[in-house]
């Protein structure tokens, strides 16, 4: 559902909007790397657990 127009309620200030967009772009990149790193680590941990379970079975 579309949100009502909040921009009309207060003046967000073009300069401050621009600043937030710039900061948001940098933070967005940081978020991407953090999320990707977390996923990779999660994947490696899961695989690590699978490998140790298999080697336990073999023994």
């Amino acid at each position: 559902m579309d949100q009502p127009s909040v921009l009309l309620y207060i003046d967000p200030g073009v300069g401050f909007l621009a600043l937030q967009i710039l900061a948001g772009s940098v933070l967005g990149i940081s978020f991407f790397f953090r999320r990707t790193t977390a996923r990779v680590l999660k994947f490696l941990r899961i695989n690590g657990r699978k490998d140790s379970k298999e080697s336990d079975k073999v023994e």
Binding site: D2, Q3, V6, Y9, G15
Partner: protein, 479 residues
């Protein structure tokens, strides 16, 4: 139910407005907004904010009360919620720097808590916060439910950012670095310290300092930037993938955390003034000082006033005393450093003392739309059980040139019953230091003359002549 009257300051929000009925406060809402408010009040967000004492308690009303209010307003489609009534309405231009800082932190804490539960603030006005008494004494509380909306947008932009900077950050920063008094900013322009004005107040070397560069210089330089259509378009994208929503929350959280850090670094340490050490450096002999304290203690113990107005409270020695006996105390003075000390003491001791920056000879006027949007101090101040007017009368009469009869009239209007006044004889050294060669104007202002003038509107119940001084304390009752 008694007559309803509409709150003059509540008209900017299209979703609703405040109405009063005797001692109750209601918010009148259209159906769409009522559903949003109901959803919020039933959500864990509301409980979380109440537990932290960040929000004014609000209740959903039963249908009988709803119908009665709707009939009184003559508007069948309105819905209502009720708010707890504030003890004393107060405004940012009456706060000290510490109070403005705490109000800022309250706003950011509300935003943080709301974000956890899928809500956010659509504005960050300093007028949304009022200081009130809670479980642990004085605390800032967010009062504007109309500012709360579901979290929307996937761009991580917090639209009230500029308003927060104007209302809180810039006034605090400029007060700390340049001694700039933000009282004037809020009185002349309800929107605090405008960033463009802030930019003009800085010279070029200061504009490059890190603390000013992102808050003042960069927004000023970017103000003409063509912001992309999708950001300024009327309908912000509200649906997005889980990744986009998480990213937006990550950016918003970082923004709020960054603002919290800036507020912490922006508040000035409590300063000294001519009056901050008055409690220790005054000219009262030890016996007079303890006599005064015991006189006041005896009065508080005997009459147990529920509400006290302490005029010219300085660092609040007697305000805190009255609060010890169960009173809610409004402590006013014009000296910000003294009030800052009182504010910090009151919070530390969890005392019900609300310090406000008010000069009784020039109290906060009615301002804003129709001169009624923010009520005048005197319009908000009546019905105090007891008024303390301790060693202030001679300052008003001599330094401010207010006739004694006018001071008596004001005292009569402010109290509903008791007045505790300390009158100073013309021959007193402090009186003499104020007179400074204008003796002929004030020679008649003996203690007897002052007592006679007050006796026209008050009955003297008891008095105490302070030892070794030409000052007398009186407990009077309104005629």
């Amino acid at each position: 139910m008694s007559q309803l009257w509409r709150e003059p300051s509540s008209f900017r929000d299209p979703s609703g407005y405040i109405i009063h009925a005797s001692d109750c406060v209601y918010r009148s809402l259209n159906r769409e907004s009522y559903e949003l408010v109901q959803a919020f009040l039933r959500s864990p967000a509301y409980t979380d904010l109440l537990d932290q004492e960040l929000l004014i308690p609000t209740e959903i009303l039963d249908s009988a009360v709803q119908e009665s209010l709707s009939a009184k307003e003559g508007l069948p489609d309105r819905c209502y919620v009720s708010h707890e009534k504030l003890w004393f309405v107060n405004y940012p231009y009456e706060w000290t720097a510490q109070m403005l800082s705490d109000a800022a932190q309250c706003t950011l804490s509300v935003q943080t808590t709301l974000m956890k539960h899928g809500f956010q603030l659509k504005d960050a006005s300093a007028y949304n916060v009022h200081f009130d008494f809670g479980r642990n004494g004085l605390t800032p509380k967010f009062i504007d439910l109309g500012s709360i909306e579901p979290l929307s947008g996937t761009d991580g932009i917090w639209l009230p950012y500029k308003q927060f900077v104007s209302h809180f950050l810039l006034p605090l920063l400029y007060n700390r670095d340049m001694g700039h008094d933000f009282k004037g900013d809020f009185l002349t322009d309800l929107e605090g310290l405008d960033p463009d004005q802030a930019y003009r107040l800085l010279g070029w070397p200061k504009r490059l300092l890190p603390r000013y560069f992102t808050l003042v210089t960069l927004p000023h330089l970017l103000r003409r930037w063509e912001v992309k259509q999708e950001t300024t378009s009327k309908k912000r994208k509200s649906t997005g993938s889980e990744y986009e929503i998480e990213k937006a929350l990550f950016i918003l959280s970082h923004t709020v955390r960054s603002l919290k850090g800036k507020v912490n670094r922006s508040v000035a340490k409590p300063k000294k003034s001519l009056w901050t050490d008055y409690e220790q450096s005054n000219t009262y002999p030890a016996e007079a000082e303890s006599g005064k304290r015991e006189f006041l203690r005896g009065i508080c113990e005997e009459i147990r006033p529920k509400s006290v107005l302490d005029i010219g409270c300085n660092t609040g020695q007697f305000s805190l005393l009255a609060a010890e006996y169960g009173a809610n105390v409004l402590a006013i003075d014009q000296d910000m450093p003294s009030l800052d000390r009182l504010y910090l003491r009151a919070r530390e001791q969890q005392s019900n003392v609300l310090p406000l920056r008010v000069d009784i000879s020039n109290p906060s006027p009615g301002i804003g739309w129709n001169n009624k949007e923010r009520a005048a101090f005197l319009d908000r101040s009546s019905g105090f059980d007891c008024v303390f007017f301790l060693a202030v009368v001679h300052h008003l009469v001599v330094a401010k040139g207010i006739p004694l009869s006018e001071v008596v009239k004001l005292s009569h209007n402010l109290t509903s019953r008791y007045l505790v006044v300390e009158l100073v004889d013309y021959s007193d050294p402090m009186f003499q230091s104020l007179v400074r060669g204008r003796d002929s104007l004030y020679t008649e202002l003996t203690l007897e003359k002052q007592e006679r003038d007050f006796a026209q509107k008050f009955t003297v119940l008891r008095s105490l002549r302070l030892p070794e001084m030409t000052r007398t304390l009186y407990l009077m009752e309104r005629k």
